[in-house]
Amino acid sequence: MGWAARRQLINLLGALSLVGALAGLAFGLPALDRALPADRPVSADRPYPIGGGVTVVPPPGARVDVTETRPTDETGTALFRLGPVRYVINVQPFEGDLAAAAARLRERITGTTGYQVTGTELTIATVSGLAGLQGGYTAPGRGGRYAVFLADGRTIEVTVSGADLDLGRSLPAIDASTKTLSYSPEAAE
């Protein structure tokens, strides 16, 4: 093999290694991620910390998805799965009243193509005394429910989604869980 051909071969191998390294980052890591389970069992007997000082008692049989659960001192997100039903609680700092918090959540829901808010909003309250608004939404093949609470400059957004049949089975347990939402300033420190 001549020097020029050898140089071309080394150049080709170098470039292919480069593409291989990129593919490892773009496809290898996600493949490895998908190969490991994301769900963990979670106890329905004690409060689960969502973040920002907010806790909830998960519904019986729920599993927490660790890939979409991120508790911090100021904010937090938790995703519980009851079979195919998603039960998401999101805590964020918010400066505004309950109506503005509900309007913001509605806008985000309807911002997804095909999603529509249905019916009127109802006032609800948790066992610990947090006041909130609750409503429903629908999308092709799916339905859902949302609720918003305010606690000490934070908004607690709850969204539940799944196929209508599955939702019907899971909603009573999820409603019971939502009522256990609680905010403790000490836990946020």
Partner: protein, 431 residues
């Protein structure tokens, strides 16, 4: 010429002059593979941009315009780092595009997956606290460093000093930073949930562009690029030493990025503007100082090398001893231009700048062993004649003239910029 810069320059890697890029690079397989990779990255980012443009057209336009404007001073600064042996614009564009299209499109799924893996193998708490600090730097620094490797594969002859590695690395980082900032700005618009508003874009621009921009990806990329430059240039050293230095540089870039993203000092220095500024300085200053020292050493080495090439010509019509001394230092080059302007007006300043560029280009051609230097000599003499006609025949400043006025001007401008920025952030409620 003093002894001190010689000693400092001798500690950095030598310069290995190479030919200019020609059509020959199209015969390299890497050229086409890198081009295809860029096209794939571009297509991926176009899909993301299209999605944002559909949902938030005004915010998208504003973010693109603001961050494109921000890229201009960064671009000029980075290209100016290697004044003596300027990099071909096509390769600078390639480096920028790699950062903006390839490194970003790879990092989006890669970082998310690694963040998930931290949560799965550790815990959601660990991922919440350290996920951003560990996942993003790991994927992004590798993806960006591969951009400098791509430049080496496509145009090896153009990476002939550590400083070249710094410039290409910084340019990859700049491309990444600009596109990432646009994506962040539009993410803030989506999160705000108030429709197509520009306020979140402006807040992101001020916070990420100005306040964090100085020590962000451009800096990390430069550090990693220096390592690749050393690996390529330092052929006189053992392979394992070169590889070790390159890995150390990439590790340094990674560590700087980890420190920047880490939750350390998140609440440690209290609230308010001063505390925020203190945290930014504490996290950003170490890598900034490191890269400043590295660039200075690499620049001095290169300056000594090219000055020696010009000195061999021994022709005061082409370059005088004082001009040679001025050409070796960015500060002295600027002083010479400043002096020309104050003495003979703006046209003299422009002519000095062109003369300096022509002299630098001549030095590069001499180092390459170009047989016919007449074209480059002619340009130097032409600028010399213009200067002579303006009554300012030599492009140098008397010792001690110039620097303090420029320093005072720079300090004043910086203080003013920080004050304006702070007022803007406070008004927007971001401070």
């Amino acid at each position: 010429m003093t002894a001190e810069p010689r000693l400092r320059s001798a500690r950095s890697a030598p310069v290995q002059p190479g030919d200019g890029p020609g059509l020959g690079l199209m015969r390299l397989p890497a050229f086409w593979i890198v081009l295809a990779t860029l096209a794939a990255g571009g297509a991926r980012m176009a899909v993301i941009a299209g999605r944002f443009a559909g949902a938030f057209p005004l915010a998208m336009l504003t973010a693109t315009a603001l961050f494109a404007l921000l890229a201009v001073p960064f671009w000029l600064f980075v290209t100016e780092l290697d004044f003596l042996e300027r990099e071909p614009p096509a390769l600078l564009v390639l480096a920028f595009a790699w950062g903006g299209l390839v490194a970003t499109s790879v990092s989006i799924p890669g970082s998310a997956a690694l963040d998930d893996l931290i949560a799965k193998l550790g815990s959601p708490h660990l991922a919440a606290d350290w996920g951003a600090a560990l996942a993003a730097p790991t994927v992004e620094e590798i993806a960006k460093t591969l951009g400098v490797v791509a430049i080496v594969l496509v145009a090896r002859a153009q990476v002939n000093s550590v400083l070249d590695g710094v410039v290409y690395g910084a340019m990859v980082g700049l491309g990444f930073q600009i596109i990432e900032d646009i994506v962040y700005a539009l993410g803030a618009v989506a999160l705000a949930g108030r429709g197509d508003q520009v306020e979140p874009v402006i807040t992101t621009f001020l916070l990420r562009g100005f306040l964090s921009g100085v020590w962000s990806h451009t800096l990390f990329g430069a550090l990693a690029g220096a390592g690749i430059g050393y690996l390529v240039v330092r052929a006189d050293r053992a392979w394992r030493i070169r590889l070790g230095v390159a890995m150390l540089a990439v590790l340094g870039a990674w560590a700087s990025h980890v420190l920047w993203n880490s939750p350390l000092f998140r609440d440690g220095l209290g609230n308010g503007a001063l505390a925020l500024l203190a945290v930014l300085v504490l996290k950003g200053l170490p890598p900034l100082l490191l890269i400043v020292l590295l660039v200075r050493a690499a620049h001095d080495r290169e300056a000594d090398y090219y000055a020696a090439q010009l000195a061999e010509l021994d022709d005061p019509e082409l370059i005088t001893a004082d001009e040679l001394n001025a050409l070796k230092s960015g500060s002295r080059r600027a002083s010479a231009r400043w002096h020309a302007r104050s003495r003979a007006g703006f046209r003299a300043r422009t002519a000095v700048r062109r003369l300096q560029r022509a002299q630098a280009r001549l030095a590069v051609e001499v180092s390459r062993g170009t047989p016919d230097l007449s074209r480059w000599c002619h340009e130097v003499r032409r600028q010399r004649r213009i200067l002579a006609a303006l009554g300012h025949p030599e492009a140098s400043a008397p010792e001690g003239k110039g620097p303090w006025r420029r320093t005072a001007s720079t300090v004043f401008t910086t203080a003013l910029a920080v004050a304006v920025l702070w007022a803007a952030i406070s008004t927007l409620g971001g401070g």
